[in-house]
C-alpha cells in the first residue's frame, strides 16, 4: 500500500470519472466535484426495504456506487431456498435475520461502509424513521408492502397554494420487482411521477378459485391442493391455524390433496407443486434480481447527484423470449388519493363538522353530498351502517378543528356522492383542510430555517 501511495490509488477510480467530470447528458443541478462524491459518501442516507433477492443486490450495488450510509429493514429470517440468489447468505446462516447478516457481510467486504440493520416489520417503525432518508429503495415482493411504503413516502409530500409539490418534501423512491425472467424498475418522485397507487392496476389481483369448484367439481391438481388447504384443514384441525412454514402441516395438505386427486383421477399433485400453490411461490433467479437491482441503483445515484439523465419512469425487462427492455412514461393520476394534492379548503376554527359538510355540498369543485369523513383512519362521521352513524352523530356539532386534533392543517378523506355528467356517482376525495389564523407559527419556523 505504501509504495503505491505515490500514484494516489483511489477506491473511487471509476466512479470519479462520472462524479468529478463535467458531462453533456446530465441533470440541471449536476455539480461535478470531489465534494459531490464525498457528500454522497458521507451524507446521502439510503434505506433499502427488504434484504431478499433484490435487497442483497441493492446493498452491494449502492455500497459500490458511493453510498456509505445505508439502512436495511427486513422481518424475515434466512431460508435454504434463498441461497440460489441471495448471495450474501451461506448455508450456516439459515435461521438468522436477513437484515443483520446482509449488513454484516457487505460491511466486512467494503471498508468505510456503514449499514444499520432493522430486523422488524416495516409497520413497526415510526413514520419519522422513514423521513430521515434521502431516498428509499424498495426490494419487495408484495403489493401490500409497496403500498405501505408508498403511503408513508407520500405522506411527507406537501403542496403550495397552486397545487405544485414543494420540492423539499418530495421523498424519492426507486422500486424493483422480479418474477422468473421478468422484472421492473421504476422511479417514483411523489408529486412529480406517478406513485405506486396511481398505477396500482399494473398489479392485477391474484386469481382465486371459487370454493364450489374446489368442493364439487375439482379438475386440476391445484383444485385438489386448495381443497385440502382451505377446506379440509379447517374441518380436521378446528382450532389450529394452518402454518405454511410447518413441514408437518404441508405434508398433511399434500397427502390429503393426493388422496383427493386419486379419487377423481386427477394427475399432477406433487409435494413441490403443493408448496408452490399453498405458499404462492414466485420463481426467482439471481440474474433477474441483479439486472433490476442494478437499474434501481443507477437511478438512485442519478437522483442523488444528477450525474446523468433520469429514467422516466418505468422500465420493464423480459428475458424469457429473446430480450425485451422498454421504458414507459406513465402519467400521474391527478386525483390520486395518496400522492395527489387533493382539494384545498380553508375554514375557520369554529366551523362544526355539520357546517363543514354543508360547505362541501356548496363547493363548486366538489358538490359533495352524503359525506362520510375520515381523518387519519378515524371516522369523524359515517352515513352508514346505522350503528356507525349513531356512534359518530354526536361529532356533527363539534368544531372540525378540535376533531382533527387542533392541527393547523391536515388531510381528510371524504366518501360521498357527486354529480358527473348529470348523474349521481359515488366518489372518494382527498381534502387538504387548513384553519384560518393558526398556520402562522409552523410556517414561519420553516421559513426561518431555510
Amino acid at each position: 500500500m505504501a509504495e503505491s501511495a505515490a500514484t494516489q490509488p483511489s477506491r473511487s477510480r471509476d466512479l470519479d470519472k462520472l462524479l468529478l467530470r463535467p458531462g453533456n447528458l446530465v441533470g440541471p443541478r449536476f455539480e461535478p466535484s470531489a465534494q459531490l462524491r464525498d457528500d454522497v459518501q458521507n451524507h446521502a442516507r439510503v434505506l433499502v426495504v427488504g434484504a431478499g433477492g433484490l435487497g442483497c443486490e441493492l446493498l452491494k450495488d449502492l455500497a459500490l456506487s458511493g453510498f456509505h450510509n445505508l439502512d436495511v429493514i427486513d422481518m424475515d429470517r434466512i431460508e435454504v431456498t434463498n441461497l440460489n440468489r441471495q448471495f450474501l447468505f451461506r448455508v450456516e446462516d439459515v435461521g438468522k435475520p436477513k437484515a443483520e447478516v446482509a449488513a454484516k457481510r457487505v460491511m466486512e467486504r467494503i471498508s468505510g461502509v456503514n449499514i444499520v440493520p432493522h430486523f422488524c416489520r416495516i409497520e413497526d417503525k415510526d413514520i419519522d424513521f422513514y423521513n430521515d432518508f434521502m431516498i428509499i429503495a424498495l426490494g419487495l415482493d408484495s403489493v401490500e408492502a409497496r403500498s405501505y411504503i408508498n403511503n408513508v413516502a407520500c405522506s411527507f409530500l406537501e403542496y403550495d397554494s397552486d397545487d405544485n409539490p414543494l420540492e423539499e418534501t418530495i421523498k424519492p423512491m426507486v422500486d424493483g420487482g422480479t418474477e422468473g425472467f421478468k422484472g421492473h424498475a421504476r422511479v417514483i418522485l411523489p408529486g412529480v411521477t406517478p406513485c405506486f397507487e396511481c398505477t396500482i392496476w399494473l398489479f392485477p389481483p391474484q386469481v382465486k378459485f371459487p370454493l364450489c369448484t374446489l368442493a364439487e367439481t375439482p379438475r386440476t391438481a391445484a383444485h385438489c391442493i386448495e381443497y385440502a388447504h382451505l377446506i379440509k384443514w379447517n374441518e380436521a384441525h378446528g382450532g389450529t391455524a394452518f402454518d405454511p412454514d410447518n413441514p408437518q402441516h404441508m405434508k398433511w395438505v399434500y397427502d390429503e390433496a393426493a388422496k383427493r386427486a386419486e379419487l377423481f383421477g386427477i394427475p399432477g399433485v406433487t409435494y413441490s407443486f403443493t408448496q408452490g400453490v399453498v405458499k404462492n411461490i414466485i420463481p426467482a433467479i439471481a440474474s433477474t434480481n441483479a439486472i433490476i437491482s442494478a437499474a434501481c441503483t443507477l437511478e438512485t445515484l442519478k437522483i442523488a447527484t444528477e450525474c446523468s439523465k433520469t429514467m422516466s419512469n418505468y422500465l420493464t425487462y423480459n428475458g424469457s423470449e429473446g430480450l425485451h427492455t422498454k421504458v414507459a412514461e406513465f402519467e400521474r393520476d391527478k386525483d390520486c388519493l395518496v400522492c395527489g394534492p387533493g382539494v384545498l379548503i380553508e375554514v375557520d376554527t369554529s366551523v362544526t363538522l355539520q357546517k363543514f359538510m354543508n360547505l362541501l355540498e356548496e363547493h363548486p369543485k366538489l358538490q359533495l353530498t352524503k359525506a362520510s369523513i375520515t381523518h387519519r383512519g378515524k371516522n369523524l362521521y359515517m352515513q352508514a351502517p346505522p350503528v356507525l352513524e349513531e356512534m359518530t352523530r354526536s361529532n356533527l356539532c363539534l368544531p372540525l378543528f378540535e376533531l382533527m386534533g387542533k392541527l393547523s392543517k391536515d388531510v381528510i378523506h371524504v366518501n360521498g356522492m357527486t354529480n358527473k355528467n348529470n348523474q349521481k356517482v359515488s366518489c372518494l376525495r382527498k381534502l387538504r383542510v387548513t384553519f384560518k389564523g393558526v398556520d402562522g407559527v409552523t410556517d414561519m419556523d420553516t421559513a426561518g430555517g431555510a
Partner: protein, 544 residues
C-alpha cells in the same frame, strides 16, 4: 442429500430438473474478472453451474476495491483471477472453481486450443481485435461464446455461435392446441355423446366449452357447406347462436365458449414460423445432422402425411368450467391423441435415423416426446460471426438506425389501461451511436494505447480524436457523412473506460441470463447486439 434440490427450488420451478442437470454438466470459462465478468459468473455460480475457469492476468489494485465485490482489501497485489475464483467458490461449494493467471489476449494468440474444453466462454471487456480472433476459435471448436462489456454508463451483450436450436422455448403467450377448428374423430364422437339440450340446469352449466364449440361448429358447418365462420358477420352470428343456447345468465361455460370462439375461426394448419423451419435446408438431413434437424425432418413427413397438415397434438388442455368427470374424459381424449401422434412420430424418427446411417435408437423416447409436445413452438437462432458483422454490417439496418426517428417499430407503447404519455420518438440514435462509439474507442486505443478520457490529463484533446475515429469507422462501414451526436461523443470521453459497478452488475446480469438460456436449451436467447444505454435506459437490440 435432498439439500441441493431445496437450495435450487426457486429456479427448478423455472427450468426443471433437466435444465438444472444441463447447468451442472457445463463448464464455463470467464475471460477478465473485472466487475462485469465477476458479476456474470456470480449469478451462474449461485445457480449451480458445473465448473468455472477464471482467466485474468492482472493483479488486484486499490481501484478494483471500489467496483468489484468479489475482491477485498486482503486481495490487493494478488492475482485477480485467484481472488475472484476463491470468493466464487465460497458462494457455492458444489461448483468446481479454477483460475488461470494469464491475460486473455495472450491466451487467444498463443493457445487457441485452450478454449475447446469448455461448454461456453464468457468474454468480458475485450477489444475488437481479440473479439474477432476468439470468435473464430470458438466457432471452429463449437464452443458457445458470449461477449459482455461495460463502458461508463453504456455497454453491450452479444451472443456468437453458428446455430442454437430450442425445443422447449416456453413462450408466455401461446394459443393452446385444442383443434376446435379441425377436431379429430374421437373428439367429435365424444362431443356427440353429450346433449347440449340437457334439462338439468346443473348438468347444462357444466358442459365444457370445448364440447360446446365442437358441436356448434359442426352444426354451423353442416348448414354452411362444410365451412366455418369466416366473415365478421358470420363470427358475430356464431357468437349469438352460442348466447342463445344459454339457459341462465350465470353459465360460465357458455361465457367461456363465447370468449374462446375465435379458436374455431382460426385457420387450420401450422404457423408461418414453423413453416420457415420446415423449409430450412438443414431439414434435408444426413449423417452429420443434429438430433434437432432429424426430428424436424420427421415432423415434416408427419405434417405432410399422417398429420393432415397439422403438427402432433400437444395433448394438454387448459382448465375450464366443467364437471370433474367430463373434464377428465376430455383430458384423456387429448392425451390419447397426443400419444398416438407421438407413436407415429417415433416411427418416422427411427426410420430416418436408419436411412442416414445412424443407430435408430440414438434419439431417446423422452426427447421425441418433448419434441412432439413442443412442435409448434420450435425456435432456431443463428448468429453472424463477429468478423462479418464488424466488417460488413447489415447496411440498410445500420442506415435505418442512424436516421430513423420513427418510434413505431420499437416505441414506448405500453399495453394496459391508465394514463400514458404520448409515445416520444424512441431514439435509436443513441443506441446506434453507442454501438459505433464502443467500436471507435477500440480503434482509438489501438492508436493511442489508452482509451479516450482514461487519464484526466488528456480528456480535452481526446474528444476530437474520438470523433475522428468514429467518423473514419462510419466511412469504412459505408456510412459516409453520417453525424453522431456531439453530446454522446463527449460523454464517452467523460466515461474514460470506467467500469461502474451498477452498470457491470446490469450488463453481467443480462449476460448470465443469456448463458442460462443457452445451456439449458430452454426459452429463447436474445438475437443481435444488445446495446445498454444507462443514460436514460432506452436500450436497444441492434440486428447488424
Amino acid at each position: 442429500m435432498a439439500e441441493p434440490k431445496v437450495k435450487y427450488d426457486r429456479q427448478l420451478r423455472i427450468w426443471g430438473e433437466q435444465g438444472q442437470a444441463a447447468l451442472e454438466k457445463s463448464s464455463i470459462c470467464l475471460l477478465n474478472c473485472g466487475p462485469t465478468g465477476s458479476e456474470t459468473l456470480k449469478n451462474l455460480v449461485l445457480g449451480g453451474i458445473g465448473s468455472i475457469t477464471v482467466v485474468d492476468g492482472s493483479k488486484v489494485e486499490v481501484g478494483d476495491l471500489g467496483n468489484n465485490f468479489l475482491v477485498d482489501e486482503s486481495s490487493v497485489g494478488q492475482s485477480k483471477a485467484k481472488c475472484v475464483s476463491s470468493f466464487l467458490q465460497e458462494l457455492n461449494d458444489s461448483v468446481k472453481a479454477k483460475f488461470v493467471e494469464e491475460y486473455p489476449e495472450a491466451l487467444i494468440e498463443t493457445n487457441p486450443s485452450f478454449f475447446s474444453q469448455f461448454t461456453l466462454v464468457i468474454a468480458t471487456q475485450l477489444v475488437e481485435s481479440s473479439m474477432i480472433k476468439l470468435d473464430r476459435i470458438c466457432r471452429e471448436a463449437n464452443v458457445i461464446l458470449i461477449f459482455a462489456r461495460s463502458y461508463g454508463l453504456t455497454g453491450f451483450v452479444r451472443i456468437s455461435l453458428k446455430e442454437h436450436t430450442v425445443i422447449e422455448s416456453k413462450p408466455e403467450h401461446f394459443l393452446d392446441d385444442l383443434r376446435l377448428n379441425n377436431p379429430w374423430l374421437e373428439l367429435k364422437s365424444f362431443a356427440d355423446s353429450i346433449d347440449l339440450t340437457v334439462q338439468d340446469p346443473v348438468a347444462h352449466k357444466h358442459i365444457p366449452y370445448v364440447v360446446i364449440l365442437v358441436k356448434m361448429a359442426d352444426e354451423w358447418a353442416k348448414s354452411h357447406g362444410g365451412k366455418l365462420p369466416s366473415t365478421r358477420e358470420q363470427k358475430k352470428e356464431f357468437k349469438d347462436l352460442l348466447k342463445a343456447r344459454m339457459v341462465s345468465q350465470d353459465e360460465d361455460n357458455y361465457k367461456e365458449a363465447i370468449e374462446a370462439s375465435f379458436k374455431v375461426f382460426a385457420p387450420r394448419g401450422i404457423s408461418l414460423d414453423l413453416q420457415r423451419i420446415l423449409n430450412d435446408s438443414s431439414s434435408e438431413v444426413d449423417s452429420n445432422s443434429s438430433d434437432f434437424w432429424v426430428l424436424v425432418a420427421a415432423l415434416k413427413e408427419f405434417i405432410a402425411n399422417e398429420g393432415g397438415g397439422e403438427a402432433p397434438l400437444e395433448g394438454s388442455i387448459p382448465d375450464m368450467t366443467s364437471s370433474t368427470e367430463q373434464y377428465i374424459n376430455l383430458q384423456n381424449i387429448y392425451l390419447a391423441k397426443a400419444e398416438a401422434d407421438f407413436l407415429v412420430m417415433e416411427q418416422l424418427v427411427r426410420s430416418i435415423l436408419k436411412k442416414i446411417g445412424r443407430d435408430s435408437n440414438s434419439i431417446p423416447k423422452a426427447t421425441i416426446r418433448s419434441f412432439c409436445k413442443n412442435a409448434r413452438k420450435l425456435r432456431v437462432c443463428r448468429y453472424r460471426s463477429i468478423e462479418d458483422e464488424f466488417n460488413s454490417p447489415n447496411l440498410p439496418e445500420l442506415q435505418k438506425y442512424l436516421t430513423d426517428e420513427d418510434s413505431s417499430s420499437g416505441g414506448a407503447t405500453f399495453v394496459g389501461r391508465g394514463a400514458m404519455a404520448p409515445p416520444k420518438p424512441l431514439n435509436f440514435h443513441i443506441a446506434v451511436g453507442i454501438y459505433i462509439l464502443l467500436r471507435a474507442v477500440d480503434r482509438f486505443a489501438a492508436n493511442y494505447n489508452s482509451f479516450p478520457g482514461q487519464f484526466d490529463s488528456a480528456t480535452d484533446e481526446d474528444i476530437p480524436r474520438l470523433k475522428s475515429a468514429a467518423i473514419s469507422l462510419l466511412s469504412d462501414l459505408g456510412c459516409n457523412g453520417t453525424a453522431l451526436a456531439e453530446d454522446l461523443i463527449n460523454e464517452m470521453c467523460r466515461f474514460g473506460a470506467a467500469e461502474l459497478h451498477a452498470v457491470a452488475a446490469l450488463v453481467g446480469g443480462i449476460a448470465s441470463q443469456e448463458v442460462i438460456k443457452l445451456i439449458t436449451r430452454q426459452f429463447v436467447p436474445m438475437s443481435g447486439t444488445y446495446i445498454f444505454n444507462g443514460i436514460d435506459h432506452k436500450s436497444q437490440l441492434l440486428s447488424l
